[in-house]
């Protein structure tokens, strides 16, 4: 069972060096325990481009698909046997990166 563990950010700032160090420790632990699938930090939403090729012509739009105070700052994809395990890992992740976390199952 895989879970998308998203980091919800309501500040414009990147992770501080302390936060980054805590994230590295957390990531190493995820790998050692076999939960790690993938993870990544994302650039600012203002640097996003929305692409729509459903019509006759491709339309590019500068900026994120939704403007909001909170945005996706990064994510983990974790392999966990059930939601209890995923929630525990997410709680550790939230502490490490000092942000709110959303846990969502893959289908």
């Amino acid at each position: 069972m895989q879970y998308l563990v998203s980091v919800i950010d309501d500040t414009a700032g990147l992770a501080t060096s302390d936060e980054q160090a805590a994230i590295d420790v957390f990531n190493d632990q995820l790998k050692a325990d076999g939960y790690w699938v993938f993870a990544g930090g994302l650039g600012s939403p203002s640097n996003a481009t929305v692409v729509d090729n459903r019509g006759a012509e491709i339309v590019f739009t500068d900026g994120p698909f939704v403007e909001s105070k909170e945005h996706l700052a990064g994510f983990w994809i974790l392999e966990a046997p059930d939601l209890d395990v995923a929630l525990k890992l997410a709680a550790q992740g939230s502490k490490a990166c000092n942000r709110k976390i959303e846990v969502r199952p893959f289908l």
Binding site: M1, P81, D82, L83, D84, A86, L87, R104, P105, L107
Partner: protein, 413 residues
């Protein structure tokens, strides 16, 4: 066997066996939806067949077998659709066998799954009442003052989340247990209250099956967590409330309020057990462990059940305990109950002032109007009292309570 006897047998089997059937099916098939539907189908089959075939000697075993067959039929049917095949096993229990000392009970697994913290509190309550309590969606909707369609959607959404997010079907590990238990207690207390003041025109005014089930499961959790003060508090609260049940409904089916109850009819054994638990928690509180809301509510009930006569009730102690409770739980319902005690201590006029302040939040709650009606009656304000009784009667769902309120209204001068 008469049709009435058969109907009673079905009702009894529903009360006694529903949770066991659902829990066993959920464990076997790993899917709450399948378990719930198959259990419901098995009971519907019983309603059809028992009048002709007779009530089986072991109704529980008959229902489990029938429900198993219904579930297998449904899974076979759905397996023919390829997208459903992947979802065959939805609930997970990868844990090794439970360690010695931890009570394992399929119904407890079901309760912890239904009360999972990833579900909203209102959803946990609804799901537990449906899956464990066996209440229908309309009954649950009524208990929580929401539309049936809203309640139906809430339960469907909860089952979908449990399935898709892989909420596990197991009793939590010892380290997770305390946090998980408070959510379970809230749910059990609501189940108890639904039993104690059952809703619905065709429902018995007191559903002993629900109060007994709530007590049984609370006892199980107490055995599992003997150190938890709130578990002890909730059990004491339930016991001291249940003890008054024999005196609570009159021979003609009318609610008898605390002041008019025959205290000799109270269950002395339950009171003794409840008082023992309250004393245990008072000792812990004296040692510096702050009591939670159930322990305070239990203490209030201990004061009531210690009085041989209503006139012996220590109302100042009751009000002091409510003051303590208000600090923990500033809900309007607590404030309403506190006002009832204040009426005894400081008179109905003072109490009415407090009650009237709750109108915005409790206008849809029958007990708010019933309390006002009683206070207005005692103040001699008959026409206002009559109007309040009318509103209380319209909103009350319990048959015994409706009968009581109607008599009181009709006795107004």
């Amino acid at each position: 066997m008469s049709l009435v006897d058969v109907r009673e047998a079905v009702t009894r089997a529903h009360h006694e066996e529903w949770a066991r059937v659902v829990a066993a099916l959920a464990r076997r098939f790993g899917d709450l939806d399948v378990a719930e539907e198959a259990a419901a189908e098995a009971f519907a089959t019983a309603v059809e067949r028992w009048p002709a075939d007779g009530v089986p000697p072991n109704p529980g075993a008959w229902l489990t077998t029938t429900a198993n067959r219904k579930a297998i039929d449904r899974i076979r049917r759905e397996s023919k659709r390829p997208d459903k095949q992947k979802q065959a096993q939805m609930l997970y229990d990868d844990d090794p066998p439970a360690p010695v000392g931890v009570i394992d009970d399929d119904r407890l697994r079901l309760i912890f799954t239904c009360c999972h913290p990833a579900l909203a509190m209102e959803t946990r309550v609804a799901l537990t009442l449906r899956m464990v309590g066996g209440l229908t969606v309309p009954e649950i909707a009524r208990a929580f003052l929401v539309q049936e369609t809203t309640m139906g959607k809430r339960i469907t959404r909860a089952k979908a989340k449990i399935k898709e997010a892989h909420i596990p079907y197991r009793v939590p590990s010892a380290e997770d247990l305390p946090a998980r238990v408070s959510g379970v207690l809230a749910v059990l207390y609501l189940v108890f209250n639904e039993g104690y003041l059952a809703t619905g025109p065709d429902t018995d005014p007191v559903r002993h099956d629900l109060t007994a089930e709530a007590i049984r499961l609370t006892r199980l959790i107490r055995a599992l967590m003997p150190e938890d003060g709130e578990v002890a508090g909730l059990l004491a609260l339930m016991l001291l409330t249940e003890a008054r049940r024999p005196a609570r409904i009159s021979a003609n089916g009318e609610l008898v309020t605390l002041d008019e109850q025959d205290r000799g009819a109270w269950d002395a054994a339950l009171i003794t057990e409840g008082h023992r638990l309250v004393r245990e928690r008072l000792a812990a509180a004296a040692a510096g462990v702050a009591p939670g809301r159930y322990q305070i509510l239990a203490a209030i009930n201990a004061v009531h059940t210690s009085a041989r006569d209503i006139r012996d009730t220590d109302w100042s102690q009751v009000v002091a305990l409510y003051d303590q409770l208000v600090r923990l739980d500033p809900s309007p319902i607590v404030a309403l109950n506190r006002a009832v005690a204040v009426a005894e201590l400081d008179g109905p006029e003072v109490a009415l002032t407090s009650v009237d302040r709750l109108e915005d939040r409790l206008a849809a709650y029958h007990a708010y109007h019933a309390t006002r009606a009683d206070l207005l009656r005692r103040l001699g304000r008959s026409s206002e009292s009559r109007a309040a009784y009318d509103q209380a009667i319209e909103l009350a769902g319990n048959t015994a309570e409706t009968a009581y309120l109607t008599r009181r209204r009709d006795q107004l001068g």
